[in-house]
């Protein structure tokens, strides 16, 4: 019995760790139950797009924008990102399997980025794509489709980064994430100008509105701010997740 051929110090790496971890996490995220449940939310965006399409042609742009703003960026993308991203590391930490990724010579930032990338990989086809298809079907025009694409992608990226870290650090991350979305993003940030400066929803909808050629929504920020702030939040969230993996306790 020998295992001594396994390790060869100084030998070149046979393959990179990042795609391996990413794929493991994508597979663990994409369970049938999650895909079916969240897929229904995505299908709803397409159904709403169809409903807008059968309405009066003059009302289509407004209806299409409502789908993007009041459903896509308010509910669909954030909720789908919450479910996937909080599970990306959170489920592994909870059931103890994180040890099989953590106790390896892999830089912690790679684990954090792989979990984030896996989450985005799941959110885009389940939430962003149906939103874009819904916007296209509605007949609101190419700029609205572009707004849905840019706003949806940016929201998917930023929320995924935030909820990845939340899932790792907090028990019952789904409940806390929903509370954050409902109370902060959809209530406080909508009415308070100051709070809106720190809201991902306000920034992503501002950018989407700008790209779609829609009038600025309430508490809107400039499109540059709408682009930079969510990316900054993404970077900070990933840094905090990496720090947590470095310093925190692994199940």
């Amino acid at each position: 019995m020998t295992l001594s051929t396994a390790r060869s110090p100084g030998a070149p790496a046979a393959s990179s760790a990042f795609p391996t971890v990413w794929w493991v996490l994508v597979r663990s995220l994409a369970t049938r139950i999650r895909l079916a449940g969240l897929g229904l939310l995505g299908v709803a965006a397409i159904v709403l797009g169809l409903a807008a399409h059968v309405g009066h042609p003059d009302s289509r742009p407004d209806a299409a924008w409502s789908i993007i703003d009041s459903y896509g960026l308010s509910i669909l993308v954030p909720v789908v990102a919450l479910v996937f991203a909080s599970a990306a590391l959170g489920d592994l930490a909870e059931d103890g399997t994180l040890v099989y990724l953590w106790l390896r010579p892999v830089p912690r930032w790679q684990l954090a980025v792989a979990a984030f990338a896996a989450s985005v990989t799941a959110v885009v086809p389940v939430a962003v794509l149906p939103l874009v298809v819904g916007a296209a079907i509605s007949g609101g025009g190419a700029r609205l489709v572009a707004g849905a694409t840019v706003g949806g992608l940016l929201a998917a990226v930023a929320y995924s980064a935030v909820f990845c870290g939340l899932g790792l650090r907090v028990r019952r991350a789904l409940a806390w994430g929903l509370a954050y979305l409902l109370i902060w993003e959809q209530a406080v940030a909508r009415v308070s100008h100051g709070a809106a400066r720190a809201s991902l929803f306000v920034h992503t909808r501002s950018l989407a509105a700008s790209v779609a050629g829609r009038p600025p929504p309430r508490n809107a920020v400039a499109w540059t701010t709408g682009l930079i702030f969510p990316l900054l939040v993404t970077a900070v969230a990933l840094a905090l997740t990496t720090w947590s993996l470095n310093r925190g306790e692994v199940a």
Binding site: M1, T2, L3, S4, T5, A6, R7, S8, A11, P12, A13, A14, S15, A17, T20, V21, V24, R27, S28, D95, G96, T97, V99, Y100, L101, W102, L103, R104, P105, V106, P107, R108, N246, R247, E249, V250, A251
Partner: protein
């Protein structure tokens, strides 16, 4: 003199007001070391701290002279079998073990995976998902991923749990083989007889404290030396009690209609002389049963004498 693989100094770990580990100091070198203790003694917590999975509340841990916390490079030399049963359920065995091989950046992950799986008597060609595996097979899958990188330190948390006798024997052979190769193998168990078969040095931990350490034989003697309560079933309880007290092998006796309960400080002497004393007293023995020979009472005794 070679430096120990594991150096633990004044280690403490607590969760709020619950003390999981308290003032542990010991060294572990190459070969097999068994960590013996009842469930909830702190064995898993100690392993987690040793591997850098949890931070100590006080004291230090050094693995190969380095702090395991925030030190991913050190994990190249460590293999762990964690206690929890959950695996990546949708993966096949080969995918699971090859994941470890790939993340360890082995030059030939597929070859190392095959070797590791064969070393634990599983089939590298098995295409079933891990969710379909029995408890024993899952234990061996965990063992395969732990040895795939040919680690210098192997940390095994209750690795024999769920294995059938033949698999236990094979696993113990593997641990011994790795120990003989100069690897450091630390195995936890709450079963004394299981630990005996490792033929190893033992650390006894209970209630988060190190209560005894040394070779198995010394620990066994220590446990045999403790006061032992026994019930002896007989047809002549008063006569047998008198005989036992007169011989001096017991220090106290309580008589009932059908049995005698005795306390002795000399378990070995009692075992040697009970038959002869019964014969001299013309008493027939129907049972000799230790009333407190379970491991919990042994641990309680060891805690008490500290």
């Amino acid at each position: 003199m070679t430096a120990p693989t594991i150096e633990v100094r004044q280690l403490g770990k607590w969760f709020g007001s619950v003390v999981a580990l308290s003032d542990l100091t010991f060294d572990v070198g190459p070969g097999i070391t068994a960590l013996l203790g009842p469930n909830g003694a702190g064995k898993s917590t100690l392993f987690r701290v040793m591997c850098g999975l949890a931070n100590p509340s006080q004291g230090t841990v050094r693995i190969f002279g380095e702090d395991p916390r925030g030190n991913p490079c050190l994990t190249r030399r460590i293999g762990i079998v964690p206690q929890q049963e959950q695996l990546f359920e949708r993966q096949t065995l080969t995918e699971f073990v090859q994941l470890a091989a790939t993340l360890h950046r082995l030059p030939d992950p597929a070859g190392a995976t095959r070797l590791a799986i064969e070393a634990v008597d599983l089939d590298p060609g098995d295409t079933r998902p891990l969710a379909a595996y029995s408890k024993g097979m899952r234990q061996r899958a965990k063992l395969a991923q732990a040895v795939v990188n040919d680690p210098d330190l192997l940390v095994l948390d209750e690795p024999l749990e769920g294995l059938d006798p033949r698999q236990r024997l094979r696993s113990i052979e593997l641990f011994r083989h790795l120990g003989e190769q100069g690897k450091t193998v630390v195995v936890s168990s709450h079963v004394l007889d299981e630990v005996e078969r490792f033929g190893s040095r033992i650390l006894v931990i209970t209630q988060g404290r190190l209560v005894a350490e040394g070779p198995f034989t010394a620990i066994r003697e220590l446990m045999d030396d403790r006061p032992l309560h026994l019930r002896i079933g007989t047809d002549r309880p008063p006569r047998l009690a008198a005989g036992l007290l007169t011989s001096g092998v017991v220090i106290g006796a309580k008589v009932n209609e059908a049995w005698v309960e005795v306390e002795t400080n000399d378990a070995a002497g009692f075992r040697r002389s009970i038959a002869a004393i019964a014969r001299d007293c013309d008493a027939r023995l129907t049972e000799v049963r230790a009333l407190d020979d379970d491991l919990e009472s042994v641990f309680a005794y060891l805690v008490g004498r500290r």
